[in-house]
């Protein structure tokens, strides 16, 4: 019943958005509807997560041959739904204030309509219980988000990014469809519950399973933005209005993780070790490539988008590790704890899904607020905004801390568990695993460190020091609805980290429903989290906080005790004698130079210094630094495909040369050939 009202509320919101277009209420009511349905989603999913049984809603059947259309909320769905609902609720609140910027520029009715449809389709994707229904909802999700990406259609880059996104995602869908249909040929039913039977089909060949797996990985990998299928992501996410970027980065890409978990563990059963290793490899590359690109960017939203690529990489490292361990524990149950370690990896991955949803939506919202008031997306033109937008700055800071895995915020907890699960791989005596897992550890460490560098740079360039443009100087604090929603998310980032033990308990139920192994009793003890092997390691996020809360005042008091109370004088920054202007500061590009110098060349970041000579050989009259990111994947992977297609088309093009004699000859030749062949 609740489910029906969720759907109806969203639809009503969409409808009202169109009807109330260009009225004051049209900027409020659709988002209230979205927030309301998100709230109801939480109410509906929470009991499922706590183990009160699945929620099932039967929809009208489309046609008999395609099976029953039903929506089903089980633990896995419920987890993703709650994560989604929290984000969508905050984004809805945020949108009320944020969208004022678009008033009189773009049609707000369209936004309200698409917003609600998008959220509804997300919800349906997480709950669809039938392959065809899933595909429909999946594509509606893609199409509605496509329209949101091109919401600012007067900007040419929005439109082209949108198209690229739509095409990529559609190609992805083609792979998914193929995979589902292959599974359907095995079970004869489109129902997901019947797909689960594939796990037990011993007669199904390994080649078939692997084929399906590869198709799934290609399909969902596109949506997840795994390298090299990621190219749409850093274009589409920034092109959309910020509230939508938040939804896309925080929720939409997670649908891929959701389905990969569901399909691999739930339907196919992880039978081959190399699946997991492949996922692990791709995920590591994604994490690294994503973060290096993020570091090379100066567009705030593109930085965040690339960071999404990185974080999806981290999430998939967890999934890949879980697959590796699961495959081994399926094959050999004598190795101790393997199933537990698999569960730990998956729990880590799911935890990070939640963390990333929270902090990335927070960051995108903050970015939206900053962009609205500074009228630029280029961080080189920002600076000093933190003093104008105190609260936005503070909330963004929390987001930056989380994403940099600063303990005890949620980003850290996920990474900690992930590292631990990787450390525990030692019980497996497979050379491939023993080489790839340490490599994954190293990749994760490097990605994490660079990510922190990236967010130090971002926060520093945007919020600290002196403003680099007039707009930045006159930035105004965001409206209350925006601040309120950011505050909720920021506090959640802290709380989910501090109270991680409770969250892990819940996440464990989810992973147990997928893997069949519960580790809560082994992992969670009071306020500590430990590894499930009985004492490898442990951590207590709450204790970390307590220690900090004790130490900070202590340090403050002690330092003020010794040598008298702190006296502060305000002076100009030390300037070596020449007054400092905004241009004397380190630029963001300059700040990331050393790292880009070392890593950028592997992903096509090119920089060049040109100087104009003056009379003195030592002091040039003018120096110019130019850095550009050569789109390696586009250039060496996608453009050749595109060119080949156009080239081939051109070749085929002469068919239609205009000569009727030639046209008749085609028919004649076809006729003769067929008659001779099939006489």
């Amino acid at each position: 019943m609740l489910f029906v009202s969720i759907i109806l509320t969203s639809l009503a919101g969409a409808l009202l958005a169109v009807l109330l277009n260009k009225r004051r209420a049209g900027m409020l009511i659709p988002y209230i509807a979205a927030a309301l349905s998100s709230a109801m989603l939480i109410v509906m999913s929470a009991p499922v997560l706590l183990g009160h049984g699945d929620v099932i809603l039967s929809l009208p059947t489309y046609i008999q041959r395609l099976g029953e259309f039903s929506l089903r909320v089980d633990s896995l769905s419920a987890f993703f739904l709650i994560v989604m609902a929290i984000v969508t609720m905050c984004v809805s609140i945020y949108s009320v204030g944020y969208l004022r910027e678009y008033e009189n520029k773009y049609n707000l009715g369209r936004m309200g309509f698409l917003f609600n449809i998008f959220i509804l389709s997300l919800c349906m994707v997480f709950t669809a219980g039938n392959a065809i229904l899933f595909l429909i909802m999946w594509e509606i999700m893609s199409v509605s988000s496509y329209f949101l990406v091109i919401y600012e259609w007067r900007r040419a880059d929005s439109v082209s990014s949108g198209l690229m996104y739509l095409v990529m995602t559609h190609v992805g869908t083609a792979f998914i469809a193929a995979a589902f249909l292959l599974m359907w040929t095995q079970t004869g039913s489109f129902d997901f519950t019947s797909f689960a039977g594939i796990r037990e089909m011993s007669e199904l060949s390994g080649t078939m399973r692997s084929g399906i797996f590869i198709l799934l990985l290609l399909g969902f990998g596109t949506k997840a933005g795994l390298v090299p299928l990621h190219i749409w992501l850093p274009r589409a996410h920034p092109a959309a209005p910020s509230n939508i970027s938040a939804l896309m980065s925080a929720v939409m890409v997670k649908t891929a993780a959701y389905m990969i978990i569901r399909c691999c563990f739930g339907f196919l059963g992880v039978t081959e070790v190399w699946w997991g290793l492949l996922v692990l490899l791709i995920a590591c590359i994604s994490a690294l490539v994503g973060v290096v690109y993020a570091l090379a960017e100066t567009d705030i939203k593109r930085i965040l988008a690339y960071s999404t690529v990185e974080n999806m990489g981290i999430i998939f490292i967890g999934i890949g590790a879980a697959m590796v361990f699961q495959a081994f524990s399926n094959g050999d149950s004598t190795i101790p704890y393997l199933a537990d370690i698999a569960a730990l990896a998956l729990v880590a991955s799911l935890f990070h899904v939640m963390s990333h949803a929270l902090f990335k939506s927070l960051l995108f919202m903050g970015a939206g607020a900053v962009i609205s008031s500074s009228h630029t997306r280029n961080i080189e033109k920002m600076g000093g905004i933190g003093r104008r937008m105190r609260y936005t700055g503070a909330f963004f800071f929390v987001g930056a801390l989380s994403i940099s895995a600063i303990p005890p915020l949620n980003g850290f907890i996920g990474e900690w568990m992930l590292f631990q699960s990787l450390f525990l791989s030692q019980t497996i005596g497979d050379p491939m695993v023993n080489i790839l897992i340490p490599a994954a550890v190293a990749a994760l460490a490097l990605a994490g460190a660079i990510a922190a560098a990236c967010f130090v740079r971002l926060y520093g360039a945007v919020f600290l020091a002196r403003p680099r443009s007039d707009h930045a100087e006159n930035a105004e604090e965001a409206s209350n609805s925006m601040l309120g929603s950011m505050m909720i998310l920021a506090s959640l980032c802290v709380l989910t980290g501090v109270l991680a033990t409770f969250i892990v308990r819940i996440v464990d139920k989810v992973s147990a429903s997928v893997l069949g192994t519960s580790i809560a009793s082994k992992v969670v003890g009071g306020i500590t989290l430990s590894t499930p092997d009985g004492g490898f390691s442990h951590i207590s996020p709450l204790a970390v906080v307590i220690v900090f809360l004790l130490l900070l005042p202590l340090v403050y008091l002690l330092s003020n005790r010794l040598g008298g109370p702190q006296r502060i004088m305000r002076e100009d920054t030390w300037d070596c004698g020449t007054p400092l202007g905004p241009r004397n500061q380190y630029t963001a590009t300059g700040h990331s130079q050393p790292l880009i110098h070392s890593f950028g060349r592997y992903v096509g970041v090119k920089s060049e210094v040109s100087e104009t000579k003056s009379s003195s050989p030592l002091i040039p009259a003018r120096m110019k630094f130019h850095q550009e990111v050569e789109p390696v994947f586009e250039r060496y992977l996608y453009r050749p495909i595109h060119r080949a297609a156009v080239e081939l088309s051109n070749r085929i093009g002469w068919i239609q040369m205009g000569s009727i004699q030639a046209y008749l000859a085609y028919i004649f030749v076809t006729l003769l050939v067929l008659l001779v062949v099939f006489r």
Partner: protein
Amino acid sequence: MIIELIQTFLLLALAPLVTGIIRSLKARMQGRKGPSVLQPYRDLLKLLYKSSIRSRDSSWVLSIAPYVCMAAVIAAALLVPVIYTGTFGLIGDLLLLIYLLAIVRFFTTLAALDAGSTFGGMGSSRELFISSIVEPTMLLSIFTVGLISSTTDLGGISMNMASTGLDLIEPSLLLAAAAFFIAILAENSRVPVDNPATHLELTMVHEAMVLEYSGKDLALMEYASMTKLLVFFTLMANIFFPWGIATSMDPIALAIGLLAYLVKISILTLAIAVVESSMAKMRLFRLPNLFTMAFILSLLAVIAYYILGVA
């Protein structure tokens, strides 16, 4: 509980001394007389009495950074075993310790950008560069230790290794220790990565970041970095070579532990002094070569563990 606190205090108390000894040793090796080994204590005390000057352009980030850094370093100090294997390990493990030190890095580098000075940006940029590329090495060395001792719990590592005996000194441990040593140099701004004594714009890394601090703020930052150095030394001493450490509360064991600790720290101090006196600071973009070597060492450490361990 008491002993754990005592050893943390010990660590905190010894930190400026270690820095003083290094400076003194370096001076001797360079043929100078050098300041007293107690000079760092005096400096800190002096700074504490002075008022702080903060830039007009800076924000709350710069103001809180010294306190946060200090708190994080102390929290890290709480975790390391010094003379006794028991620690406040309830809080977390080695991984947490690394991440606590990451807090220090996060805040110092961010605060360095706060005043909008060119030096701050430069230092921040270089520091992040160095610490980022050394991070995988650090994690892999820890991974190796974790593999060898079957835990990443700090007290647990010391305990397991110290009680198992010397047969644990195997190639992978040595390789990991070597890698970790390079990581220490990098993390603590020592030569050849950085020169703690320089104030030349082009070569500063850590000094460039703390240039905007003065008075109490500077005292805290300096003290935090001194403590951080000793925390790393202690890690090296008691995680990679924990032999000698007290595994029980027995007073004699504790005494031996203290002695062993002092000896090990002295050796490390000497090692640093020797390195710093005999090597020149490397060019910034030469550093990746060094760190790649360290990384390879740590990777070899892991692989050696599997190859030799499985065989």
